[in-house]
């Protein structure tokens, strides 16, 4: 995952226009619709279903039916119930992990880019170290030593490791923007640094920040699914990744139990794919040059 550092000054007074183009852009509209529909299912679904997705409720290994929409697992758990709970934890990991990474990335990027000098050199060094750390290996080590492995712990670990590319991009853009005279003028008005960053610099990269947020969100979901799949998922909850892992562990593929692994696999693909398409659409909205293509 990497981000092009394109510094585009937003066309003036086009906020409303952006929203208009964004919602009319089929990629943005379609992508958001998929993401929001699955989010809604994950949010509301659990209220109508059992609270304990791991309960043995039905006959073992049953194909989808009216009673069990997505069939049952090898042990007789309801796949739909698990799926809905899994969606919930995937969104939680995405929001929390992506959110943590976003906050760290912004804090580091803005500080380094705005302060410059020694502060920048040190922060840049830290960023590069975290960037080249084999994140997966570190995550595997940490995850396997952690006593309680819940969704939240997983999200925190993911967040702490996925901020560097955001920090780098934000730093680069801040460097350029901090040298504009209007930043100096804000200082001459007695504004504090953080106010200048929030009120003068951040608005000029709003579109970029929105897109990074989406990428971080999707990246965290994918990362969590990967960890779950190799058996480092939450021990006390169901996620889309642990569903896949379980179904593979009990050879659902050989037994022809497609209803066990297709829903979680498809959902992960859909969410991440839809987020990616939303981003491509947003890029078209913010860069009018791409619109025609």
């Amino acid at each position: 995952m990497s981000a092009e550092v394109v510094l585009q000054t937003e066309p003036v007074g086009r906020r409303g226009e952006h929203l208009y183009f964004a919602l009319r852009n089929p990629k943005v509209a379609g992508g958001l619709a998929v993401v929001l529909a699955l989010l809604l299912l994950g949010l509301i679904g659990p209220f109508f279903l059992s609270d304990s997705p791991n309960e043995y409720v039905g006959p073992k290994s049953e194909a989808p039916s009216g009673a069990h929409w997505f069939g049952t697992t090898y042990f007789g758990q309801d796949v739909f119930t698990q799926f809905v709970h899994g969606l919930r934890s995937s969104y939680l990991v995405g929001t929390l992990g992506g959110g943590i990474a976003f906050v760290i990335g912004l804090a580091v990027g803005f500080t380094a880019g705005y302060r410059g000098g020694l502060v920048d050199e040190v922060l840049n060094m830290v960023t590069n170290v975290v960037l080249v750390l084999p994140a997966l290996a570190v995550l595997i080590v940490i995850s396997s030593y952690l006593e309680v492995r819940g969704v939240v712990a997983q999200a925190v670990i993911i967040g702490v490791f996925s901020w560097p590319w955001v920090a780098r991009a934000v730093r680069a853009q801040t460097f350029t923007l901090a040298n504009r005279d209007y930043v100096d003028l804000a200082r001459l008005t007695g504004k504090r640094s953080w106010r200048i960053i929030v009120h003068e610099i951040m608005p000029n990269m709003a579109s970029y920040l929105l897109m990074s947020m989406i990428l971080l969100f999707g990246g965290a979901i994918l990362f969590a699914a990967m960890l779950d799949f190799i058996g480092l998922g939450p021990a006390n909850a169901v996620s889309l990744g642990t569903m896949m892992q379980q179904s593979m562990a009990w050879s659902s593929l050989h037994l022809g139990m497609w209803w066990w692994f297709v829903p979680p696999g498809l959902a992960i693909t859909l969410i991440v794919g839809a987020l990616y398409i939303t981003n491509v659409g947003l890029d078209e909205v913010f860069n009018p040059k791409l619109r025609e293509m």
């Binding site: 000054t9 003028l185 200082r187 001459l188 007695g190 608005p203």
Partner: protein, 294 residues
């Protein structure tokens, strides 16, 4: 009123600040109320750096800057904010001085937020209208517009108006008219003249000698970060003593002379040496006229 005392500035460049670039060397100047002091010199001679140090946008490496006798360098945020009530600046590029995604009149609102939070909106807009008229702008035609909808001259005048909202004593004007067309230039320049009449001290930074001659009583000529000649504008421009000043004056294009007519070879100048040794001291060659290294 404003005084620079033996000011030095070194920028740290290279990884971990391993190298230094000395941009300003042992500069001492002062500005009195009601006076325009021009700082002239070639590109890279350190003019902007001086302006930035006066505005405390960059730190002073050595030496001190005094306002009414009190040292103003390197103090906390509150003291700096109070300093900006009395010392303000306008920069070279009007379009870079405004955040392009916001309306241009936001600069006035920012001043109210910082310095006059208690002033009512209606009273504030009356004050803004006043200062705008003071810089000969029609409030109705500049308020509520985005920067790209205004001309460079209008934008620069709005910046001067912004400075006038505060009770300033010193205005740092760093090449404020070099990006304007000739007719707007003279308007903005005359505006500075009016400020001078009102008792403001203006630090006028320029590389254009004729502008310096037009607007200022005193001039400082800089080269390689150090002052080479300083004094009353009349003295320096009619009787330049330093070879660099003579070259500068000879290179000013004149209305009634063609390029092909110019025959004088520029005089040989000392090359840029070690910038960390103190520059040659200024000696008074005449009343109100100082030259380096004679």
């Amino acid at each position: 009123m404003l005084e620079l005392r033996n000011v030095w500035k070194s920028y740290r460049v290279g990884t971990l600040g391993s190298k230094r670039l000395t941009a300003v060397r042992d500069v001492s100047i002062d500005i009195a109320p009601g006076e325009v002091l021009s700082v002239v010199g070639e590109s890279g001679s350190g003019k902007t750096t001086i302006g930035k140090m006066v505005l405390q946008l960059t730190s002073v490496t050595r030496g001190s800057i005094l306002l009414d006798g009190a040292d103003v360098t390197a103090r906390g945020h509150a003291a700096r904010k109070a300093y900006y009530r009395r010392v303000q600046g306008v920069f070279q590029d009007p379009f870079s001085s405004y955040n392009p995604i916001f309306k241009a009149d936001r600069i006035f609102e920012a001043v109210r937020e910082s310095y006059f939070p208690a002033v009512k909106r209606a009273e504030w807009s009356a004050r803004v209208d006043d200062v705008l008229q003071g810089v000969r702008l029609d409030p109705g035609s500049v308020l509520g517009k985005y920067p790209h909808q205004l001309s460079g001259g209008q934008l620069q005048r709005m910046l001067i108006a912004r400075a006038l909202l505060l009770d300033i004593q010193v205005l740092v004007a760093d090449e404020i008219i070099s990006m304007l067309d000739a007719s707007t230039r003279i308007d903005v320049l005359n505006l500075l003249g009016e400020l001078k009449e009102r008792g403001l001290g203006v630090l006028f930074i320029t590389h254009d000698l004729s502008l310096a001659n037009y607007i200022s009583e005193r001039v400082v000529i800089m080269r390689h970060g150090a002052v080479v000649e300083a004094g009353a504008t009349g003295k320096v421009f009619t009787d330049p003593r330093h070879p660099y000043s003579r070259n500068l004056l000879a290179s000013v294009p004149q209305l009634h002379r063609k390029w092909s007519d110019s025959d004088a070879e520029p005089e040989a100048l000392e090359p840029d040496g070690d910038r960390d040794v103190p520059p040659p001291p200024l000696t008074e060659v005449d009343e109100h006229h100082w030259v380096a290294g004679v």
